[in-house]
Symmetry: C2
Subunit: 303 residues, 2 copies
């Protein structure tokens, strides 16, 4: 009957845990930095070991747990928690090692992100980072899909199993190259509507904010140049293509050198509120440490 062949391998158990958490073999393979066939084989081995099916991978491309799978998942969680506790008890900060997949919004890349990386490297010399830069909406999806472990994004993510800690606020500013000669007087929306507005990509908060400002006005909406690359946006504004809506903290150098000037505009744009967000659970200690470090660095460098 139940051909219980070998003993339950703790290593496979971790894989099983992540397969369930992330809802797929492929996801788990990514998370654990291996390949899908390896995951298949290990899960198959686990099922052989317990003698029954653990996962129903049949219908609607959705994985579901068998009753025994539920039972095993419970043990897996307890075992992983205990292991994590043990590792933590022995590995001082200098001994911590592992891979953290970190998603970062571009604004943060252009402010204090490299400082965070440096601090992390000092505190955890063995830590490896896989860095993905993308817009917040994509980072959020990636975090929920388990493709990244921590995200520094416009948050909070506010999803079950995800922790958020607030980082510093970054004010959005209207900026332009001096050659546009928009002056230093307060400007209204009418004045702005006549030049192109250069800002972040279509799915982002700043883009939506700008769009909302002009919505419902009689005058025709402004031309908005959405751009997924912050460096590119800055270039365009420097070149006088239009006015930019950019987090001022990301262009501190250009503002201080006078290459860009800050316009006084009413109404104000709401500041960007970033969070460090990570999936909670066993083994999330590293992710949490990264998030906490980000919090500390952000506090040292207010937007």
């Amino acid at each position: 009957m139940s051909g219980s062949a070998s003993l339950i391998d703790p290593r496979s158990l971790e894989l099983f845990y992540w397969v369930v958490q992330l809802g797929g073999f492929r996801r788990a393979a990514e998370k654990l930095a291996t390949t899908q066939p390896a995951v298949s084989a290990r899960i198959a081995g686990l099922e052989a070991a317990v003698g029954v099916r653990l996962l129903e991978r049949g219908q609607r491309r959705k994985l579901s747990l068998t009753p025994q799978g539920m039972l095993l998942l419970g043990y897996a969680e307890r075992l992983l928690a205990l292991q994590a506790e043990m590792q933590a008890a022995f590995a001082g900060p200098a001994g911590v090692q592992g891979i953290v997949r970190l998603g970062v919004a571009e604004t943060i890349v252009h402010t204090w992100f490299s400082l965070l990386v440096r601090r992390l490297h000092e505190a955890y010399p063995l830590l490896q980072l896989d860095i993905v830069v993308d817009i917040s909406v994509n980072l959020r999806a990636a975090l929920l899909a388990g493709e990244i472990d921590v995200a520094l994004l416009l948050g909070p993510v506010a999803a079950p199993g995800v922790q958020d800690v607030p980082l510093s606020e970054h004010a959005l500013g209207w900026v332009a190259a001096p050659e546009l000669m928009l002056g230093t007087e307060p400007l209204g929306l009418d004045a702005l509507g006549r030049v192109p507005i250069v800002t972040y990509a279509r799915e982002t908060v700043p883009y939506q904010q700008v769009r909302a400002l002009f919505a419902g006005r009689a005058a025709p909406g402004p031309r908005i140049f959405a751009n997924s690359s912050l460096a590119s946006i800055v270039r365009m504004v420097l070149d006088g293509i239009g006015v930019g809506v950019i987090a001022t903290s990301a262009i501190r150098t250009e503002l201080e050198s006078g290459a860009l000037t800050l316009l006084v505009v009413t109404p104000l744009l709401a500041p960007l509120r970033f969070t460090a967000s990570w999936r909670d659970g066993p083994g999330s200690a590293l992710a949490a440490a990264v998030a906490r470090m980000a919090e500390a660095v952000a506090n040292d460098h207010p937007g």
Copy 2:
């Protein structure tokens, strides 16, 4: 400093646990069916992983734990207990597998032992047995040294960490070949003292009992042939060398066929009280199962 190289391997943790429990690398290697170099390597790996020494193997050929070793041992116990619980939850009886090193007193070998083996094989088809037959005093030492997992011996062992369950009693009988013509009348010690007495080895309970019977008597003590092999003892008695002191249950066939006759002797010898004894602790479930099975079989076959 602490060159924390890799993660703590649960497999090595089990080895570490047994090294501490059994007080030596060699013992642990035996227990886990591997070699001493393998144990050395794994412990060294473990110490590299946590970055500190776990065992002091210096002085007086005695292993002692460092403080970190104590800490790790605690985690090892918790982890192993959890693993054992998980295995038990999944492995129905038919799925149980493992190796049990079983020590057996020879008297039991000659009564119901083969039935026990058969029952065990039926109940746990994947169970492997390593059987050692020896006299009880040696079995006790082997059990305490961790060289065997369960012993069926003249008990109880009555040591910390060792569980005892009583098995059936086996009466010791005075027996002789009919040709000796000792009759069916009650015999006294004087009559017995004139013929050699054949019984178990010098370190055994029956030998000591016989010796004690004649101690303090004026008459010269009897000649006692101590023999470590029960088969050999029976052979000698069958051949008329002398009278035997043997557990009657072990020579049921010979008594029923009339090849040996039971003598009526006063005073009576105390019956042999066997126990099934095993080391308690994580992973002892199999050993306990064997002991319980022995108890059941013994109850079915009273001495």
